[in-house]
């Protein structure tokens, strides 16, 4: 018996060791999805006491307010990602290409630091800062930018602000990583070929940093799509988003089946996003092909010139 076990162990050693992680993934990620999917398409008839298959909840989502809420969350996530991108790019650019080495390490260190504190703590900090008697209100009133009756909490802007401050480092880091790894000789080569700084940025630095930008957008877009603590705490529950609806469905109104259907749609989101990225690449590739086709046509047209 012992021998047989030993034989199995040696023959399948790599399977034995790689299995737990994959199993964990299946049990706690894919199986839950299966359960969610099951919840979302199976309903219980209380009269007949039977379970039956239904697409009711999906129809409900696509025909009522829910789809609009999903769009709204999408919009919020897109705005957050866009704002993050606009702030993060200069910072990443500065970190990667300017500044002395030692200073850079310090800046980088201080960049990760806030993102490693709890999101809840950061949100609370903003609440504390923006409240009527908080530092920012006080400052803006003192400088007479806003009137004393104006307050900053509980609106859309505050939600975006909180989101951006929580997710900004996730946008900076991937862009920084790509820019930092980029060979500085490309910049030299570009300058050597007659491009000024702006042209170099437009034609070399930015296109080469695109993988980092995509990664950053993914890392910001997806969590801000599902976020519910920030709209609740900084938005005064006045704005309902996908995340808050799911929480509501699961913890409050107990319509789990609807919540599960909503969640399933949410799972589709990253896949959708990935498709977008691939589509973008394909379009670029097509553009390139067209360009080189034009060029070939040009060559054919001028055959006498170039042989």
């Amino acid at each position: 018996m012992k021998k047989a076990l030993r034989a199995i162990f040696t023959q399948e050693s790599s399977f034995v060791f790689s299995c737990p992680a994959v199993l964990w993934q299946f049990v706690f990620l894919y199986m839950p999805f299966a359960v969610l999917a099951l919840y979302s398409v199976i309903d219980f008839n209380e009269v007949t006491g039977r379970y039956f298959l239904t697409a009711f909840y999906y129809r409900e989502i696509f025909t009522s307010l829910y789809i609009q809420i999903i769009f709204r969350s999408f919009l919020l996530a897109a705005i957050t990602a866009a704002v993050c991108f606009l702030i993060a790019y200069p910072v990443a650019y500065f970190l990667a290409l300017k500044g002395s080495k030692r200073f850079k390490t310090f800046l980088l260190f201080s960049l990760i630091f806030p993102s490693w504190t709890s999101l809840i703590v950061q949100v609370y900090a903003w609440f504390f800062l923006l409240e009527k008697n908080g530092f920012i209100s006080w400052f803006l009133q003192w400088t007479h930018i806003i009137s004393p009756s104006f307050h900053l909490l509980n609106n859309y802007f505050t939600i975006v602000l909180g989101m951006v401050s929580c997710f900004l480092p996730f946008m900076i880091l991937p862009i920084y990583a790509v820019l930092e790894k980029m060979d500085k000789r490309f910049l030299e080569a570009s300058a050597d070929l007659g491009a000024d700084r702006f042209e170099t940025f437009r034609r070399v630095v930015f296109p080469m940093s695109l993988p980092g930008v995509y990664a950053g957008i993914m890392l910001v877009f997806i969590p801000s799509f599902g976020e519910f603590a920030i709209p609740t705490l900084l938005g005064g529950s006045k704005y309902v988003f996908w995340g808050s609806v799911i929480v509501d469905k699961f913890l409050r109104s107990r319509s789990w089946r609807l919540g599960a259907a909503l969640a399933i749609i949410g799972i589709m989101l990253p896949i959708l996003l990935m498709c977008c990225v691939y589509l973008g690449r394909a379009i670029r590739e097509r553009y390139r092909q067209r360009q080189s086709k034009e060029y070939t046509e040009y060559l054919n047209a001028n055959k006498d010139l170039w042989g």
Partner: protein, 377 residues
Amino acid sequence: MNERLDKLAACARRLMRRSAIVGVYLVVLMAALYVPLLFSYFKTQRTLNVYAFTETFSPEAIELFEERTGIKINITYAELDEEIGAKFAINGGIGYDVVNVSDFMVRHLSKQGYLQKLDYSCLPNAARLNPRLLGRVFDPKNAYSLPHKWFMYGLVYDKNVFKVSPDQMSLAFVFNDPEQLYKKGLVSRPYRVCMIDSPMDAYFLSMLSLFNRFDQFTPQEFDAITRQLLQQKQWVECYTLYTVEYFLLSGIIPIALTSSNFVRKIWDMSDQYEFAIPREGGILVIENLVIPKTSRKGDLAHEFINFMLSDEVATLNSQEYGWTSANKSAQETLDAQYKRKSHLFPDEHVFKRLHIPLFTSYARRCADDAWLRVGFA
């Protein structure tokens, strides 16, 4: 041919080996996950898992209980009755021994058969309870639950802005447009309000303000309520229950539709605010202690409930957090300063205006859906 068969056999053997390995792992994992369940059956340790809202039991009271009985208390916090309901729906509340829930949820849980019947022989302190709170419609014989604290949903407002006597305070001040009220000269300035963030209570109060009724509504009336709530959103600063004191005290809003729980805290800070049950009516919330059927420590749970209902501990709790206790004498020993504010301790006349909303599950679903529309607007 033979070769192929051999290959097939080898393949099958490998498959079997691998599934055996996966099986072993799965068994280990499942065992690890179900261990707590086994523990809950065989545990002899004297601990109680209490599930309650925040600011319910004061740390001192808990300490006192642990000291006197040697029973260790684990408290988990919920924010809403619905959360508790959701946890019960999952597995009948396995793991919890004493739960603190509000009236309508008591009815729901007892209907579903999640609760144990109380044994009054172990609860001598039940006699110390305020009779006004006993035998209410959600548990007419108090077979499953005993009230432990209570409060009202009413209006907290700034006396400088609303120069109205508390008896004349109306829900119109939160449901009607403050601009219009200001133009009519009823208030000294336009303002924004804080609104309760639970759909049921919002619908109930809106119904009271619109139709002066609370028993049922027709679909047309329901739509009218939804319209009113949608319209109200324009002047709502925040949908919240707990942060109300912050919004009032920092002067962002002068009036809030909220619970009487926070009033004492607000009074501690400022004299400017008054609490009133609107003349259309308010909501009475009775929080009760119940024992889930799944609890195997009924004796300890009874001991805990009895302890919490005693005069001494009830006073301790209500003084710590400022809510009104269901215990008669605890209420009497409350600070004299608050006593004179009669509206926190309503007389029979005012008390009659308080109702306990019990929605059918269909009405609740409708309210939930419509509330989503309010949130989305």
